[in-house]
Structures are given as structure tokens and as C-alpha cells.
């Protein structure tokens, strides 16, 4: 399948920060989660995709068009929900909808109204006067109905209450099911990652750590409880604690245990959260 977004060797240096080189492809029908510590460059990467800044090296192609080119008509196919919303404060929800809905040919008014009802969003209040949670709800209600092929969500659920988080997740699932679409999401909420992500792209201090399919990532780590801990380091060993060893290469580790006659009392997979923790260390 040809990718919808293709990032190749992207680099950008800022005063005190160096992003990249980053290469990442987004395929139709998938949800890719960007994961990293604060300041790892996720938002910068997304803004570069939206051509809000100029890269120092590398390319970004969106539906075959160079994102940094003169023709930006590809922006019709991308909806961007930024983490920090700029420029909306003076407008009411009604005005914002009037502006945004006119810019997208596939605007889904019914979905917008459903989300406004579900989240109980006051449309006649100025955006700047809404609470953070309400701002986020309105911004999401103005993102999904654009019905673009790609939806880019930068921290979409940070300020949502628990029921709203669940509603949003269900809406996003239905949205993904309705047509061939793709989502890029950054989130510090592990629930978002567990329930939504197909691929996980891990970043640390501007560098790409890896791009994993979720199950492949889960399967590549294992925790073993042993009757005795070997003195030397075990192949694949990431950390040890009392009778416990965490391995980042279960096949090699298990082979070693077999050869060394070490009895495994029990073994278990790691949580996604633990794995990300290990990757970001």
C-alpha cells in the first residue's frame, strides 16, 4: 500500500534542540501514536508536517506532494488539532464552525451537531472564555467532522474528563470505520495508546528510537522469575531486580537459560507503559 505521508531524513535544529533525522511513513487505515518524553520533538514534527516551519534537511511528502512546496492544496486532506490552539480566543464556537466548515468540502454537519450535544459545548461563548476541557472538546468537534483523509491529533485528550475520553474514543473508532483514513496521535495517556494505536513511534530528545507495531513491541519484551539469578549478564537483559530479569530479546534469553540450566519459575509480558518507560530511559 502506498503511504499517505512519507517523512524522509527530516532534520531541524532550533536554539537548544535538534530534531531528527526522522523517517516515518503513514499508511491508510492505521493509527500511529507518537510517544516520547516532554520536549522530545513530537509537536515540532507535526508542525513540520503541516508546513508551519522549514526543515533544515530531509523531505515530507503528503499524498505525493512536497509539503514545503508552493501548492498547499494537500492541506484539504489533513485536519490538524494542535496541542496549543492559537487564534481562536476571540471567536464563538458558531463563528469558528462557520469558518472551518466552509474550508472543507466533506464537512459533516450531523457529526458536528452530535459531538456538540454529546460534549455539551456552549457554541455562543467565546473560545477564550471556555475552560481548557471545553476548549479541547470544541476543537475536537471541529476536527473530526472535517472528514479529511488524515487526522493529526496533538494531545487530544489531556484535559478531557473520563466519560468524554470514552465518547471521543468511540467517535474516533466510528470515524476510522466509515472510510479509509489514517490518524497520527501524540498522547501521554496510556489508554489512548493501548486502545487506539496500531503503530508506535518512539522519540527521545528529538531522535527517533523506533517505529513498532504494537504487538511486535509487546512480544519483544519479557519478564522472567528465576530460581537463581546468574552472576554474569544475560543476553537481552535490560534490568534485573531480585529474582527477576527483564529481557528485550526473549529468544536469546530463553536459549541462554536452557543452556545454563536455569529454571524459569514464571514469565510474563510487560505492559506497554513499562516498555515505553524502558525505551525512554
Amino acid at each position: 500500500m502506498p503511504s499517505w505521508i512519507e517523512i524522509n531524513g527530516l532534520q531541524k535544529s532550533l536554539d537548544d534542540f535538534q530534531l531528527g533525522p526522522i523517517s516515518l511513513a503513514i499508511e491508510p487505515g492505521t493509527i500511529t501514536a507518537l510517544v516520547g518524553n516532554n520536549g522530545s520533538g513530537k509537536s515540532t514534527l507535526l508542525k513540520l508536517v503541516m508546513n508551519l516551519a522549514n526543515a533544515d534537511a530531509g523531505t515530507i511528502e503528503v499524498f505525493g506532494e512536497t509539503a514545503a512546496g508552493k501548492d498547499e492544496s494537500w492541506k484539504q486532506k489533513l485536519a490538524f488539532h494542535p496541542q496549543k490552539i492559537i487564534g481562536w480566543d476571540a471567536y464563538t464556537g458558531t463563528t469558528l464552525k462557520e469558518m472551518i466548515s466552509s474550508l472543507y468540502g466533506e464537512w459533516d454537519e450531523a457529526l458536528f451537531e452530535r459531538m456538540v450535544g454529546l460534549f455539551d459545548i456552549p457554541l455562543d461563548k467565546r473560545f477564550g472564555k471556555l475552560s481548557q476541557g471545553m476548549q479541547q472538546k470544541l476543537s475536537l468537534a471541529l476536527a473530526l467532522p472535517r472528514n479529511t483523509e488524515v487526522l493529526i491529533l496533538d494531545e487530544p485528550t489531556a484535559f478531557l474528563d473520563i466519560p468524554s475520553k470514552r465518547h471521543f474514543m468511540d467517535l474516533l473508532i466510528d470515524w476510522m470505520d466509515a472510510k479509509e483514513r489514517a490518524v497520527i496521535i501524540t498522547s501521554h495517556q496510556t489508554d489512548d495508546l493501548r486502545k487506539l494505536a496500531d503503530y508506535i513511534f518512539v522519540m527521545r530528545d528529538g531522535k527517533a528510537i523506533g517505529h513498532y507495531e504494537k504487538e511486535a513491541l509487546l512480544e519483544s519484551y519479557r519478564r522472567y522469575w528465576l530460581d537463581r539469578l546468574p552472576d554474569g549478564s544475560v543476553p537481552g537483559e535490560m534490568s534485573r531486580d531480585r529474582q527477576q530479569i527483564i529481557s528485550g530479546d526473549p529468544a536469546a534469553t530463553e536459549h541462554y537459560f536452557a543452556v545454563q540450566n536455569i529454571t524459569v519459575i514464571d514469565h510474563a509480558a510487560l505492559d506497554l507503559e513499562e516498555i515505553i518507560d524502558l525505551l525512554l530511559k
Binding site: L14, K47, K75, F80, W88, S102
Partner: protein
């Protein structure tokens, strides 16, 4: 033409959002202008130097300051300075050329009505001005000042593209700008031996057709030049 239509539609949102305030500001501006212009007769008689500076301030800078704060140039994350709309619209499928044009429409709405008001008031308030000027030379006078508005004032519209500026550098360039204006002003007084407004009245009286022609050319060139500058600056800036 489609780009202008879309630009006007987008500008409409910002203009409508604070329409009451804008009308109030126009009234306020009229009063301040009226009070200020009562000293115009003095200026004509005694070549009262400071008048030129105050007039320029009222004519060029004031309209831009009238813009609601929420839509003005402001500091974003880090050292990024810009007007919020430039970031907002780039996140939507709006071509950069349309963004530029919408900013120019907004700046026009915040300058031309105020400036024309000031120029008309001059005619109303000052009897000596009325006596010395013919309809044709008045037209030339208005054209000259609108050209000044486009050539200088729209640099402000273009600067709304913003970018990453060091605060120290920003302060330094402000100082240089003020120094530059002061030097120009002093040099003008010394060379022409008359005030700036006085000089433009002379131009309008002596060469009305030439003044109109050059002014229109300046308006055309300035209008296009500053748009190109702004578009380039938007392309160059990093809105991170």
C-alpha cells in the same frame, strides 16, 4: 480574484468580532484628531516643527494601534512574534497568498477610513488650509498622503508575518528606527527648510498632476511590494 474574495471573507471574521469597539475607536480618533488639528493654522503660520511628527504618528501609527489587542502582533512560544491569525490560518487549507491578502484587507480597514477622516478634517478645521488649496491640489494632497500610508504604513501589515526575534534585537531595532526617523526629520527640515506637510502641500499646489501620478504609482508598487515581502516572510518563518 478568487483569492481576494476568500481573503475578504476571512478578514470579515476578524473585523466583525470587534465591530462595536472599532466604531468607538473611530469616534475617539475623530475627537483626538479634531483637537490636534486646531493647531494646524499655527503650523502653517510659524512652521511649528513638532506638528509634523505628531501628524505622522496620528496618520501612520495610530490606526495600527487601534487594532484590538487580541488580533495584534504578540509573543508566542519562545521568541516567536506574530499575529495569531497567521498561525491559525496556516493550520487550515488556506493558501499563504490568501493569508497575506486578508491581513492587508484588515490593515486597510484599520487605516484608510481613519486617514481619510483626518485629511477631510484638515479641510474642515483649518480655514487657512481651505484658502490656500484648490480642489485639484487637495486631490493631489490626499493622493500623496495615501501613498505615504501605503509605502510606510503597510510595512506594518507586512511585518505581521512575524518570525523568531530575539527580544534584545527587537529593542535595538526599535531604537534604530526611532533614531532613523529623527535623523530623517532633522535632515528634511534642514534641507527643505519647511515641514513635511507644508512641503507636500507645496508639491500638490505646484505639480498636482505629477503628484497624483507618482502617488498612484507608489500606491500600486507599495501595495504589491509589501504583499510579496509578507508572503516571503511567512514562508521563511518557523511557527513552532
Amino acid at each position: 480574484m478568487h483569492t481576494w474574495k476568500q481573503a475578504a471573507w476571512l478578514a470579515g471574521f476578524e473585523l466583525k468580532a470587534r465591530i462595536k469597539r472599532s466604531l468607538l475607536m473611530l469616534a475617539f480618533y475623530t475627537i483626538v484628531g479634531f483637537i490636534f488639528l486646531t493647531s494646524f493654522d499655527n503650523y502653517l503660520a510659524d512652521n511649528f516643527y513638532a506638528f509634523d511628527l505628531l501628524f505622522l504618528l496620528l496618520f501612520i501609527m495610530f490606526p495600527a494601534w487601534m487594532k484590538p489587542k487580541i488580533f495584534q502582533m504578540q509573543k508566542m512560544d519562545g521568541d516567536l512574534w506574530t499575529v495569531p491569525a497567521v498561525i491559525m490560518l496556516q493550520q487550515l487549507p488556506v493558501p499563504k497568498a490568501v493569508i497575506v491578502k486578508s491581513r492587508f484587507i484588515i490593515h486597510s480597514v484599520y487605516s484608510f477610513p481613519y486617514q481619510l477622516m483626518l485629511l477631510v478634517m484638515l479641510l474642515v478645521v483649518s480655514s487657512s488650509f481651505r484658502e490656500m488649496i484648490t480642489p485639484l491640489s487637495y486631490t493631489a494632497f490626499v493622493a500623496i498622503w495615501l501613498a505615504v500610508s501605503v509605502a510606510l504604513g503597510f510595512a506594518m501589515a507586512a511585518s505581521e508575518a512575524g518570525g523568531t526575534f530575539d527580544t534584545k534585537l527587537l529593542a535595538k531595532s526599535m531604537i534604530y528606527l526611532v533614531l532613523g526617523v529623527a535623523v530623517f526629520y532633522a535632515a528634511f527640515q534642514w534641507l527643505a527648510d519647511e515641514g513635511l506637510i507644508y512641503w507636500t502641500i507645496g508639491m500638490a499646489q505646484n505639480w498636482p498632476m505629477l503628484s497624483i501620478g507618482v502617488s498612484l504609482l507608489t500606491i500600486y508598487a507599495g501595495w504589491n511590494y509589501w504583499q510579496r515581502v509578507m508572503k516571503k516572510d511567512i514562508e521563511k518563518a518557523d511557527y513552532l
